[in-house]
Subunit: 416 residues, 2 copies
């Protein structure tokens, strides 16, 4: 496959008229004179378009896309107790399947090629994701209250280890829902199978305060005392941290999945990103679930992250466009060990963005990353994962049928 005459980002600037040759799941050539040697004859016109390496959604619960708009503007506890948990208690594999596919559609439309998820019935999430062609790190969530989930964690890993798109991981939910024993088990599993560890960490003030009161340590300090924290960990949120917590997270090289929109919509708070970055944490961006965002769009996440951090520090010069762009790309590639980027040998996970939209004008060498972070309002029209075209010129085959089916599934779920 050859993408012809696209523009690409080079050192944050714009290089025009570049061809990208893809063979199998990898980029085999990139440059102005590159030709297609795959022999499949497929050509995608890239003229007037920008090719970007795929964005990575570092924290979400994709099946919850089925709950989008079901409950908004509520206090956290009534939201969970009256709305979310009763629905979750009724979830079936079919709900997971169609919720996941609905979420995949939205991410494909937003140039996201890989996501990191923690939820229930993850074999079904994996099947749905493979059907859609996206790449995913999937953790079956672990809670003490559900010993069956803990028991299935290792079989789940074995079932999916080695898959070309699905990477199984271990997902202990949080320190307030998992015992020491469960956390150790998760660590052992991750060690034995060389997987990521995905956990919610210090999301709300009340959660952190009550943990401290009960355990005499912060969630971060406690996890570190177990030896849990390392660069194998993706810690979602990290909103309420002491200076010591920040220093631990930085020293251990933890990957922080920052969820700015969800943290604001649920009024959880503003994460100390600046301190985390300076301490050495690797900051990535996540949308969280569509029940608390309510979209699955990392461009929105980038803009929100940049502007709320600027305002929180009264420093418009902090969190510039290039820094925030790296969070959704390079930082995430490092976190998940993804061989990704627009270069020879890398995975062919990428998106094309139509630059002929008002929000990309005026366009200059120096402002393209600013436009991607601050002004984009659409235009992703082609998304490719592992060399397979998932959306072309704005068309995702079968999209309408999935939308209709997801709608029926939601109606069935709430009336069940």
């Amino acid at each position: 496959m050859l993408i012809k005459d696209a523009s690409i980002l080079v050192d944050g600037g714009l290089l025009r008229d570049v061809n990208i040759a893809i063979e199998g799941s990898r980029i085999m050539g990139i440059g102005p004179e590159i030709r297609d040697e795959s022999g499949d004859g497929e050509v995608i016109g890239g003229s007037g378009k920008l090719a970007i390496p795929g964005l990575v959604n570092a924290h979400t619960h994709l099946a919850m896309t089925l709950f989008r708009g079901y409950a908004d503007d509520m206090e956290l506890l009534p939201w969970l107790e009256e709305k979310i948990w009763p629905l979750e208690a009724k979830l079936t594999a079919e709900d997971i399947h169609w919720g996941t596919k609905l979420g995949c559609l939205e991410m494909i439309r937003a140039g996201i090629t890989c996501y990191n998820d923690m939820y229930y019935i993850m074999d079904e999430a994996a099947r749905a994701t493979k059907d859609m062609g996206l790449r995913a790190f999937l953790s079956a969530v672990l809670f003490d209250m559900r010993p069956d989930l803990i028991e299935d964690a290792e079989p789940f890993i074995r079932r999916w280890k080695g898959d070309d798109l699905i990477v199984p991981a271990v997902g202990p939910h949080a320190v307030y829902t998992c015992s020491e024993e469960t956390l150790y088990k998760a660590m052992d599993l991750a060690e034995e199978h060389a997987t990521m560890l995905h956990i919610h960490l210090s999301e709300t003030r009340s959660e952190v305060e009550s943990f401290k009161k009960n355990c005499g340590n912060s969630p971060v300090g406690y996890l570190d005392s177990l030896g849990f924290l390392s660069d194998r960990v993706v810690a979602a949120h990290c909103t309420w941290l002491s200076p010591k917590d920040v220093s631990i997270i930085g020293t251990r090289g933890v990957n922080v999945a920052h969820c700015s929109i969800s943290n604001h919509k649920l009024a959880s708070g503003i994460a100390p990103l600046d301190q985390l970055a300076r301490a050495g944490a690797n900051i990535c961006l996540g949308t969280d679930g569509a029940s608390s965002n309510n979209s699955l769009n990392l461009f929105q996440e980038m803009k929100t992250t940049a502007i709320v951090q600027k305002c929180a520090h009264s420093r418009p010069d902090l969190f510039g466009a290039r820094e925030v762009w790296r969070m959704a790309t390079d930082n995430a590639y490092a976190a998940f060990g993804l061989d990704l980027g627009l270069r020879v040998g890398a995975l062919a996970d990428l998106a094309l963005i139509d630059l002929k939209k008002p929000w990309f004008f005026p366009l200059a060498e120096e402002n393209i990353v600013s436009h991607l972070v601050y002004s984009i309002q659409g235009g992703v029209d082609t998304t490719i994962v592992a060399g397979k075209v998932l959306m072309r010129d704005g068309v995702i085959p079968g999209e309408e049928a999935i939308l209709d089916r997801a709608q029926k599934q939601f109606e069935d779920l709430v009336s069940r």
Copy 2:
């Protein structure tokens, strides 16, 4: 013209299969059985689409769309002194023309049918806006440093008074750039010609503090002592207010153009919206200019406003979707005296949104406003102002030529 089988919002819910008949610039019928009696035979398919009354951008500087991405991530003073003011010193009527048209394209794509602007060379902004077919309240900005602008304020009003799309207004820039004499002159003009008054008010902390130090009064207290504040005023920003300021703004029924994204990106601060609303202020939403936003999209503005206010108050139940939706619609219609809404006799300023997008699923009677505020990522495909179709099925005639011409104009401006 007949819009056939659209859905509309009724009391925040969804009413399906409604026809909307438009004759001239007004809605002449609306309901399931309504037929077209205009005789023009034009039919727009509304099936699977939501018709909304047009959104109103209550504060912007549209020609500055030409500066989008020219300077980001800078402290306010160097940003103004090194970047924005040097460009503004070179502005020609052609810059204003193409910057305005570029901004109009973006707003048409986002369902904005009317905007409120304050800038230079506004006759050209008015001509460009009329070419594009949008409705606008335009103020020629008034500064003491430019007596020529003050002198032209009344002739400008006379030139445009009575126009079908352009409503002239009076725009004293701010209390720190306009003398008492200029402010009185602006009030007299607004009184004599029954126009709106458009002013920047208490945007940054340092501006408010230095005004207080020099004048012994807050900007709000000072304006009120002149008798300036009334429901004829649109005050942009209102970020730094004392409780007394809030009470004055509420009592006078001032229309506040809240610019959440710009205030965050420039790190100006978080406006006390909750207090303002409770005091009786009429809160509308503005994008501010694309040099500080960097987009002109009120859906983004609604989401940002809701989530940052929730977080600032640690109250996820505050600033619900319906309240924020009203800021971009009903509150703005009241502020500008616009006879607008989906009802018989109202101005035919409206947009159609394609509901067959992943971010609108699942769709239920109760969650459509939530989707419009929290999850929309595009889908406005038809925009109509005063009964004239500006965009149909995503196509704006002549768009590409305007984009190319605006690009050339920007390149000319920066190299001038």
